[in-house]
Amino acid sequence: MPPSHNIVIQYFSRVTPTVRHRLLFLLVGCALLLGYIFLQTSADDNSSFLAEVSRIPVYLAPVIIAGLGLTGIIFAGGIDLSISTIIVVAGTVFGILYDYGASPGVCFFGCWLTAVSLSSWNGLLVRCLGISPIIITLAGLQFYRGLALILADTLMPDFGGGLSIQQAAYQTPAKEYAGWILAVVVVAALVWEAYGKTFRSFLALGCSPQACRIAGLHPGRILQMSYLVGGLFLGVAAVLYVTNRQVIEPARMAMGFELSVIGAVVLGGTNIFGGEGTMLGTVLGALFLYLIGQAMLYAGVSEYWRTAIEGAVIVAVIGFDCALHRRRKLLDELR
């Protein structure tokens, strides 16, 4: 079959069947859940479907955008467990700049830049030390929280555990533009993935570092690059995460955020060991997890069940998928 010039067909023919099936499942699942929520909201006078949909970006934007960054890193066979505490440091920098009277633009830029530089620092460490990325970023998870607390302690004399942001001007990105920022970033990421070479080189590295080296690519440089690219996304996610709240508490903020993001990425069909997956999957994965929680609320299930359902969905979907491919994998192994 001659290669098609249609970019959408190209995009989907590049991914493996496993990922394609997962994308299909998530698309249908999200559509069904949205339909269910639509039916429930139209039956109920107190709630409107549009209001429900417009709430999605405010909750989901940080998860999806950080997820897009992490997807690139996981493509390349790395992982970043420290994204939550990088956001904490970025938030602390934001709070300190606010306290020193900087204008909103400077605050946002400082927050973004902090996240980008810490993520690239992770990449540099992974490349130079030759230790597994899990360990480096696990150490980062501890280190950056300490860094945030010490920064706040030293630079702000009256720091009492929380940095309070009162003016509305400093919260516009999350409160007013979350939907637009999310849309722009997602479209940009998908276009970059479809047309650009960067993410394909990440995938190549994830598939086989040896093959990469033989083909003339530089594995270390690509891995470091994946953390830098991940940082670009993470910075935006950090701005959206931080501006969504009035008080920034470095000791407690964003705990477990990295696990929700990894959950969304993995549910989207990205192979945790690298070399397989799509950006689109991550977006759909995060959306599916959120929508299923909302649909449960409309079905009359208590809010307390949300975390349990999130976990059950991850376990069930991936367990089912793995069980389907298990026989073939075993035979491959024993051949």
Binding site: Q142, G311, A312
Partner: protein
């Protein structure tokens, strides 16, 4: 009896000695801060006894968990769900009537619950072939969610009312559990065939299957054992804290993994030592205790809260420990 030559060979590799040396150096720095006094032999004896009691009671639950986690990492797996698992087991036990009947209703049920949750992880990983990191990530959310469903927003502080339960939080209870788990369990494990089978499983799964090792059964057993140890740790924790809420023990899994990895076990599987992991836990506990006392006695020495240094030092310790311990010359590393 181990022949002396074998022992010698184990220690001729110089980086096996680094970890104990690092620990001794750390102890030399933090013991005086934590109140160990060197004025006279008597003061030294008394203060170090206090210090050791403190260390052991704080380290006990972590040591118990670390033994299981080392075995899990040996097989090339990982268990991210233990924090939630401990919380869920504690939550199940907390809702029972805190009388004498607690001992024959809640405790066996907690043990059953621990084994069941561990078995569920093992089932996902061995039977359904889900990668361990994803399976246990999913169960992390699942168990935490069930814990929230069970407890809601309340905090259950019934454990102190159970007769004799607080004993497990004291020195003798902690020592008993540590002895049972590490000295007896770990000692048996070190010389057992099971250990070599697990190592082989982590080194090369296909080869292990060809060698006739029941891969699925061993994997399930390891995760089930991890669940059982999570139950023991839950008893330790609740006996000391006396209460449990829906957010308890978050981040415990990372603490345990830091300790195990610090002890020289590789996350890729195929090697691991329980003694190393125990030293890893002790290092973390010494650090924690030292900074806590420094906060109390020298609060104004630095322009920030000294306890916040804990995160920085723990991260740095992890990277340095692993970097020093990393395999250098051979192809297996």
């Amino acid at each position: 009896m181990t022949p002396p030559t074998r022992v010698m060979r184990r220690f001729t590799s110089w980086h096996l000695l680094i970890l104990p040396l690092l620990f001794v150096a750390e102890l030399a720095v933090f013991a005086p801060i934590s109140g160990v006094r060197f004025d006279s032999a008597e003061a030294l004896g008394r203060s170090s006894r206090f210090y050791a009691t403190d260390l052991i009671t704080h380290a006990a639950p972590l040591i118990v968990l670390v033994v299981g986690m080392t075995a899990v990492l040996m097989t090339g797996g990982i268990d991210l769900s233990i924090g939630s698992m401990v919380a869920l087991i504690a939550a199940v036990m907390a809702t029972f009537d805190p009388g004498a009947s607690f001992w024959w209703t809640a405790v066996p049920l907690g043990l059953l619950c621990g084994l069941g949750l561990g078995w569920f992880n093992g089932f996902l990983i061995a039977r359904l072939d889900v990668p361990p990191i994803i399976a246990t990530l999913g169960t992390l959310f699942l168990f935490r969610g069930l814990c929230e469903v069970r407890l809601g927003d309340q905090e259950f502080g019934t454990f102190y009312d159970v007769p004799g339960f607080a004993w497990f939080g004291g020195l003798s209870g902690s020592l008993l559990l540590i002895t049972l788990v590490v000295a007896l369990g770990g000692g048996w494990f070190f010389h057992s065939r099971l250990r070599r089978e697990l190592l082989m499983l982590g080194g090369n799964r296909v080869a292990a299957r060809y060698a006739g090792i029941p891969v699925f059964r061993r994997t399930t057993q390891v995760y089930t054992a991890m669940g059982g140890l999570a139950f023991v740790a839950a008893i330790c924790f609740t006996a000391r804290n006396g209460s449990v809420s829906a957010t308890s023990f978050g981040g415990l899994e990372l603490q345990v993994i830091v300790a195990v990895v610090l002890g020289g076990t590789r996350v890729e599987g195929g090697n691991g030592s329980i003694i190393g992991s125990v030293i890893g836990v002790l290092m973390i506990t010494v650090l924690d205790e030292g900074l806590r006392s420094a906060e109390m006695f020298h609060a104004d020495a630095l322009p920030f809260k000294i306890q916040h240094l804990k995160y920085i030092l723990m991260g740095a310790l992890l990277v340095i420990g692993v970097w020093v311990n990393r395999p250098t010359n051979n192809s297996t590393g």
